[in-house]
Symmetry: C2
Subunit: 301 residues, 2 copies
């Protein structure tokens, strides 16, 4: 069970806890646990070296760069951390939605007692794009608020906790009555700019867009335009396009925009959850059981 690019202590412990034996990356390794989400060149070299590895575990949930780089060969099983970080990301999505509806941007920048304002999320309709782990956890968090949730996903297999699950062709109608539209889907060529001018125009004038997925899901220029003319309630973005958002970008100055710097899941939150996922999959691999987070190379996530 090779660990690369270097054998971090938490990963060694996780591999051992799953019943595996940590090694360096070599030609004898039956599997490769990769820890650096940014080092794609290193990943390519490691995969070439570990030629016997039948399984590669990646450390990130969104693997659009690995997919675009053509690394996902069909000769072995690839798993991402998809679902593993769902809890903190769903929590961040809820935080952003509540912060938007309770006008926290106005409150936090105020230096004087303000006028009453703010809306409750209780009993409101919401729409979630994506039916994976984040959506499931977000629906759990939203359940006590009695929201009516529509999930839009590629398949129409119902998502637990959602009032209805529809496929992407029904996206336009799913946007129209939502108090909050959550983006919690994978970035693929088919979902890039899934929210553009037409989709923003369909949203309620008091509807909030919350993005905890990828910046490129949203046409930033169209969003700036919609926010500038008050066409939607606001946007709360943990991810942006471009990212990092450069100083002076119009989004920084917009009253109804809240930006967090891709911190829905911080390294501290992630490490513990990734260790759990590695341990779980190492044990499953040894037992010949189906792995968690298997990537479909054709779908790109």
């Amino acid at each position: 069970m090779a660990i690369g690019p270097a054998r971090g202590e938490f990963a060694e412990q996780a591999v051992r806890a799953g019943g595996g034996q940590p090694t360096d990356v070599d030609a004898q390794a039956d599997a490769l646990v990769w820890l650096d989400p940014g080092d794609l060149a290193g990943l390519r070299r490691a995969v070439d070296t570990a030629s016997s590895a039948r399984w590669v575990q990646l450390p990130m949930a969104g693997i659009e760069r690995v997919s675009a780089d053509g690394l996902l060969d069909h000769g072995r099983t690839w798993t991402s951390a998809k679902g593993a970080y769902a809890e903190p990301v769903a929590e961040h999505a809820l935080t952003l939605a509540l912060a938007g509806l309770r006008v926290l941007r106005r409150r936090i920048t105020a230096r004087s007692w303000g006028e009453p304002a703010g809306e409750s999320l209780y009993d409101q309709p919401v729409t979630i794009l994506g039916g994976g782990g984040i959506a499931v956890k977000l629906l759990e968090l939203l359940a006590p608020l009695r929201v009516t949730a529509t999930v839009v996903r590629r398949r129409t297999e119902p998502v637990p906790g959602a009032a209805r699950t529809v496929d992407s062709s029904r996206l336009p109608e799913a946007l129209t009555d939502a108090r909050v539209v959550f983006l919690a889907l994978a970035l693929t060529p088919g979902t890039e700019h899934i929210i553009g001018a037409a989709e923003l125009a369909r949203m309620r004038s008091d509807g909030w867009l919350v993005n905890v997925a990828r910046g490129r899901h949203v046409d930033t220029d169209a969003l700036v335009a919609a926010l500038s003319r008050g066409a939607i309630g606001g946007a709360a973005l943990d991810v942006t396009d471009p990212e990092p958002l450069p100083d002076g970008h119009p989004l920084w100055a917009l009253d109804r925009c809240i930006i967090t710097p891709h911190t829905a899941d911080t390294q501290e939150m992630v490490e513990r959850l990734l260790a759990q996922r590695i341990q779980e999959n190492v044990a499953r691999f040894a037992a010949g059981e189906p792995l968690a987070g298997v990537i479909d190379p054709a779908a790109g996530y």
Copy 2:
């Protein structure tokens, strides 16, 4: 069923929906529904006029001013709206806690991409002061985050959803390990300044204080001192002392302080919920059933 100081349409509808007949305030009225939380002189006149009224419904959840004014005579039943606004207030408390842990003050005032920071509330210990409607609803909202909740209240009757319920004598120890301390209790002479220098000193250095109750529960000078020297993680306050918080008050400038201007329940949220409570109590009154929100004059809430 008299309505004062004036017969607002929503209150008339609520009285009728409960099976009552709305009237002006006069000596024949068997009950008085009072709608203005600020007009205590008017309330005193109305109570004197409606001398036959066996029941007075107040519009606010916290009635410390009515109690202090000596209005709560024992000759009739007084009910407040306690519990009626619990949902939006609990939601606001959750919003403030999440905003604190996710460093939203820093994020919202930033005009540049920031460094990773932020904490998750999943699996954390929290402490709630108060065991009423807000606490119950807050525990519902916190349940999917798997918090371990300690409730501190006057009685030790367990609160649903809390891991443990302790009486006020155990407050000091209940403060020590809480990631978030929520204030959701009634203001009485016994709970004024329940959080002072000694209590703040017992809190974790990363613990957040969230107050959705009354400003006077907290010794403001002690809080300013604790925040100024970084002794606690932060404070998120929907209520302050003094209130409104005057311009230039030190709390406005503190990095780890989030202030909302007593908007946990806005007039819009309250009106619908108060109408429900009036309707419910009018129907119970007619049926001779126990009323919701009965005030204990000795306890002061």
